[in-house]
């Protein structure tokens, strides 16, 4: 049995169902792996955890991973289960916002902690400054929930198609009272949940083999989860120690996440990668990364896993 520790990007929820399913259904065991899943939280930076030796592999968004790489932490993408981006900006229709041209002068809620890169790239693509004023947008550091929109402290907030958006709906605001801007539709989508490891480990063939088995089992988990939405949600609930998640919310999250998985077998599509890098580089005066990354992705693991 080989030990593998996986650090998630966020708390236990259907966003990470594939891994929990693989664990629960014994897919990892079948690959001779002993996997520990560590839930994340608002102040857990998975790259920091892996740098400190607290994990072998992490779930992270590509912009943050590439930025970390430029910061001297050599992370490498070994697999990309999420094909599409689930990020969007959700606005109240009554604010009168109909398109990006209405943004200047507005207050927008944004997640930080490494999740702000896609937003910043988008804004610099649009040429809108993010430090307030009539020409720019006023940015709020959005907390954990959708209150800023409900309380009308912000005109628009960041949401995920599979999570926060439905919280707004659940709060009693109907879909037609909302205007949404998906990053996918705006052409500024960047790759989200991928699996990353430390570059130096990849020199070890045993490690690559271990990761290949891990990715294979994980993708089995994802496939199973996409097909058995309700059961997968129940498995996630089983693993949620806080006891705070609800069946309804997780089931819906699982079906939304399944949409993002479509078109990926876990292998990173180099076109998606190129698009992400271009978006991040094209950030005008203050790009997220300043030069074309090298060695930030490898197909070695997925090749070994699926061939």
């Amino acid at each position: 049995m080989d030990d593998v520790t996986l650090q998630l990007k966020w708390v236990t929820q259907a966003q990470f169902a594939g891994y929990y399913v693989a664990l629960e259904n014994g897919f990892y065991e079948e690959e001779d792996l002993n996997v520990t899943i560590r839930a994340g939280g608002p102040d857990i930076a998975p790259p920091q955890v892996i740098a400190g030796g607290g994990a072998d592999v992490i779930v992270e968004w590509m912009p943050a991973a590439l930025a970390a790489r430029e910061n001297g932490l050599p992370l490498v993408n070994i697999a990309q289960p999420f094909k599409a981006s689930g990020m969007m900006l959700t606005c109240l229709a009554e604010t009168g916002i109909t398109g990006p041209e209405d943004f200047p002068g507005r207050t927008l809620g944004v997640w930080f902690f490494g999740n702000e890169y896609p937003f910043l790239s988008w804004m610099s693509t649009l040429g809108i400054p993010t430090d307030g004023g009539d020409e720019g947008v006023e940015v709020l550091r959005q907390g954990f929930n959708v209150d800023p929109l409900l309380q009308q402290q912000a005109d628009c907030i960041s949401t995920m198609t599979y999570n926060e958006y439905w919280q707004v709906i659940d709060a009693g605001i109907s879909e037609d009272e909302l205007v949404t801007f998906k990053y996918e539709d705006q052409g500024v989508a960047t790759l989200e949940d991928g699996l990353y490891v430390m570059e130096e480990n990849l020199e070890d063939p045993d490690f690559v083999d271990k990761m290949a088995r891990f990715v294979r089992a994980s993708m089995r988990g994802w496939e199973w989860a996409a097909e058995n939405v309700e059961e997968a949600a129940m498995i996630v609930l089983e693993y949620d120690d806080t006891g705070a998640q609800t069946e309804e919310h997780q089931t819906r999250m699982m079906s939304e996440v399944a949409l993002l998985l479509e078109g990926s077998n876990g292998t990173l599509d180099m076109e998606d990668y190129a698009r992400t890098v271009a978006t991040l580089l094209g950030g005008g005066s203050d790009p997220v990364i300043t030069s074309e990354p090298e060695g930030a992705v490898t197909s070695a693991v997925t090749d070994a896993a699926f061939n």
Partner: protein
């Protein structure tokens, strides 16, 4: 017991004020919703609307109490994972989460107060420590723990320490300081004549400490301990946020906050306050007993 009536009166007043505040706090949302639905809210409808919201800005007292009751007694007695059905505490119940937090709090408090007293003793007895340690103990408290908590946890995780200990360490970090400050003052409280007496006996440091400084610092010690245990609880809760927020009142607060479950936040908050208040009260009892034995009962 003679405190009962005043406490009841004050509590009743506060609850009345609370109910009175619920209406204006939640009215905006109720009216927005009505407007979106194209309705017009009458006064009575508005009142009842504000008392029953799913995500109120300020939940009504009965909503919080109901949630507290449901997530403790009801969950354990009838819940699928409750104590009655499984023989172990349910992870949906505040009893379970309260216990998780309490154990870290108590451990951190114990270490923190011991450390605080030890540091105070060092500071009072050693000139070099007096001059050098205190400023840095102060500086240490200005470091926002939430910032270093994840780092501590990452580092401890890396060397294989997980679970209770990292949380207790953060509790310790917050709780040692009030004890240091209070005890430095308390250990220096004996007046000149009391110290001179010891000098004439040529008592050694340990004796002066045990027979004079320690007893005269008791009032200061208890004042500090009360603050320290409340701080330890805050530390444990803070530490639960980055530990993956898996269990404990902190995790409840966080998930409540994450999903906008105001009522859940408030009930976790009250559970925490109940914990803190009862621990402070417990220390108060010990204080009274101790001071009474020392002939200092007021």
């Amino acid at each position: 017991m003679r405190n009962l009536i005043p406490v009841l009166v004050v509590t009743a007043t506060l609850i009345a004020l609370w109910y009175a505040a619920v209406v204006p706090m939640n009215a905006q949302w109720a009216q927005d919703q009505a407007r979106r639905a194209g309705q017009d809210l009458g006064f009575a409808a508005l009142i009842s609307e504000t008392m029953t919201q799913q995500r109120p800005r300020l939940p009504a007292p009965h909503q919080v109490m109901a949630e507290l009751w449901n997530s403790t007694v009801v969950e354990e007695m009838t819940g699928r994972r409750g104590f009655m059905n499984t023989g172990s505490l349910s992870n949906r119940s505040l009893v379970y989460h309260g216990w998780v937090t309490l154990s870290a709090t108590l451990l951190g408090f114990a270490i923190g107060s011991a450390l605080g007293v030890a540091l105070a003793v060092g500071i009072v007895h050693n000139r070099a420590m007096d001059a050098s340690v205190m400023p840095w103990a102060i500086a240490s408290q200005t470091i926002p723990i939430l910032a270093i908590a994840p780092m501590i946890i990452v580092v401890l995780n890396a060397i294989g320490i997980t679970g209770l200990i990292p949380k207790a360490i953060i509790s310790t970090y917050l709780s040692f300081f009030p004890v240091v400050v209070g005890m430095v003052k308390g250990l220096r409280a004996p007046d000149h004549m009391q110290l001179d007496l010891m000098r004439t006996y040529s008592a050694n440091g340990v004796q002066v400490f045990g027979k004079l400084r320690w007893p005269s610092s008791m009032p200061y010690l208890f004042a500090s301990l009360k603050v320290a245990i409340a701080a330890a609880l805050v530390g444990a809760i803070v530490a639960e946020l980055p530990t993956g927020a898996v269990a404990g009142l902190g995790a409840r607060l966080l998930s409540g906050s994450y999903y906008g479950q105001t009522v859940q936040i408030w009930s976790a908050l009250f559970a925490a306050a109940i914990l803190a208040a009862s621990m402070v009260a417990l220390i108060g009892l010990i204080q009274r007993a101790t001071l009474k034995r020392m002939g200092m009962a007021a």
